[in-house]
Symmetry: C2
Subunit: 395 residues, 2 copies
């Protein structure tokens, strides 16, 4: 089998392992930089690799709309198109259809949506999601799922979950490419009973891995972590577990503590482009007056290209001047910070010292108030009328 | 002497030489990528060096306003601040004061202008221009000059030129840093008589090099080239000649043919960010439908990173998606194209085959209509009320 997962060591719930793919072995716990449109924003593939990453995430929704599945396929698939020879995981596009597309109607058969680029209408089914991902040629692909919002009722979350299950079965059937691992997505919102049913249903179908979907969508952080802990504990130990859309330093260390193997999030790269840089003490805004004459790099002993080469004052100058190099340098720093954290976590798990690392992390780290961030995101989604016009119709 | 110029070979008016600076030797004819704000837009210093460049241009006006001369000096000067160990030439900021600042009043003593960033008022004199450039620490610095517009009367151009001469004398006196070469700027618009007087006045003061200023500011291309030819022919053969603000492939080859050694222009990098890529046949817009499925790179046998790594279709995808990587990849290609052209030119001059190279160039190359571009620029300047409120007052 070209795809496999090996659990190497566990330590107080945290797991160190190896994800084997046709494009190399990925040490876990792993964070995937996000390259939705077939590029990790602001970086070349060499830079992503040089930082230390061996797997990235791309997105079927984005690539389907632009440049189009047939164009990407004609260019030799995603790896060749973007000149990335490491592993790639593609999300099916389910989440994006629900969160980005201006209109989205779900039926038993699939989902009709409008492009957020030109308003054109499209229809996506579980079978098409698998076909598109086969043609993109990622190493790991995802089932098409139906996402719930935090404020959905128990009944609505249950309906979405049950449809996710039927779609997972159809994806499983449609999946023929033996070079691609297929992961299922556990839904069920923050209802322990539903999450448990989702785990039972999906593990019975025996997927190559299991993702936790529908989290970090507005619910209190405490509830996210409880749901992660409960769901991960019910998943089979020998299969990889992927917490979707989560990737701040604080969320990663807490996710690992609850048994998560794989993370992805646009957060480290997005906040970097806004000038927010990770430090051991928390995020720092490079535009702050503190940095305006600082000869030292933003993190004194950081090994990233940005910190090895440039002062904090110069980085601030680039941001204030709107220079393109600013976004790249900040992205490199934040991705390096996360990669470095993943490496430390892995060593600590292997050495049996993970809880000490976690304590040390929290003794210095001041998290950015995620509640504020999440409620802003919720507000934004509401303002776009998202989630409100989604009704499960049809059969 | 740390700065020097060696003329190695001439061929039908074209010159091959070497510019020796405290930060390395620069083969001429040379093109300088523009890094006005202390960064060649979208690139790291390593990328600029890897393409093959050994000298770049930065701008005193921009750096004075942001991050400030004292900040740059506190960070160890321009080389250290931007991590560029090659040669740097700084322009004095004269041209920018006249073209960018919202208000600008000239007196015998100097020029009062408002910042285009925050509207604050500033005063620049020849002595301050030299002091600022000494503190920035470039290898080659420029006198403060007074620029004319193409539609200025003979009398006005003459007045500007004479003030430029008096300022050049003051710059010469203020210049103490023996590590920095000081170049004068020949003015006189498109009036042969004035250009000749300017050359005579400035060469009598014996500068380290001579720039041709006030060209490519709206005059017909034919007139630019005639003025370049006439002026260059009058300049001393043993000193380097720098044609300011000119740098399209077609203008470079014609400038070299008229005896120019050094060029700079934001054009190759600016048009790159707009998706216009240099080919031997002329500029091509990457957004064009021709490229939407093209597996080959934009220039099949190009040796640049972009063409060696990515298809034209992928580059189009990055541009259409507004991805930051697009600007970098296009910038790399255009700067590589220009560098490659400079190398070919230098070899041809050394081999005595420059006119054959020039013929070959023109047998394939279709220039973009510069007249259109220049008249657009003129319109833009007019729309900003530039040049209209400039009056030489005072003594």
């Amino acid at each position: 089998m070209k795809n496999d997962f090996r659990l190497i060591k566990t330590c107080e719930g945290a797991r160190a392992g190896e994800l084997i793919t046709p494009h190399g072995t990925v040490p876990t716990p792993a964070f995937m930089p996000v390259g939705s449109q077939g590029t990790v924003k602001a970086l070349t593939p060499e830079e992503v690799k040089d930082i230390g990453y061996s797997m990235i995430l791309a997105n079927t929704y984005h690539l389907y709309l632009r440049p189009g599945i047939d164009v990407a396929e004609g260019l030799g698939g995603l790896h060749k198109m973007m000149a990335w020879d490491g592993a790639i995981l593609t999300d099916s596009g389910g989440y994006q259809v629900f969160s980005l597309a201006p209109l989205c109607k779900i039926s038993e058969e699939g989902v009709t949506f409008r492009s957020h680029i030109d308003g054109s209408e499209h229809f996506l089914t579980p079978e098409l999601a698998i076909d598109y991902q086969a043609r993109l040629g990622a190493d790991i692909i995802m089932v098409l799922d139906v996402c719930s919002a935090y404020d959905d009722s128990f009944e609505k979350v249950q309906q979405s979950m049950e449809l996710t299950h039927r779609w997972a079965e159809r994806c499983r059937k449609a999946h023929k490419n033996q070079n691609q691992a297929l992961f299922a997505i556990v839904q069920g919102g923050v209802f322990p009973e539903l999450r448990q049913r989702s785990v039972e249903f999906l593990t019975a179908l025996d997927f190559d891995g299991y993702a936790l979907g529908g989290l970090s969508v507005g619910e209190p952080k405490k509830l996210t972590l409880e749901t992660v802990a409960q769901t991960a504990a019910q998943l089979p130990g020998e299969k990889p577990r992927y917490l979707m859309g989560v990737g701040s330093p604080e969320d990663i260390i807490e996710g690992v503590a609850r048994g998560i193997d794989i993370f992805d999030s646009a957060l480290p790269t997005r906040v970097a482009r806004n000038g927010a840089l990770f430090t051991r003490e928390g995020r720092r805004n490079i535009r702050n007056a503190t940095f305006s004459r600082m000869e030292q790099p933003i993190v004194a002993d950081c090994g990233c290209y940005t910190c090895r080469t440039f002062s904090a004052a110069y980085l601030q100058h680039l941001f204030k001047s709107g220079e393109l190099l600013a976004y790249r340098l900040a992205t490199i720093h934040n991705l390096y910070f996360i990669h470095n954290l993943m490496e430390k976590i892995r060593v600590a798990i292997t050495d049996g010292t993970f809880s000490r690392l976690r304590e040390e992390f929290w003794s210095r780290y001041e998290p950015t108030d995620e509640q504020v961030r999440v409620s802003q995101k919720q507000k934004w989604l509401k303002s776009k009328g998202r989630r409100l016009d989604i009704g499960i119709s049809g059969n």
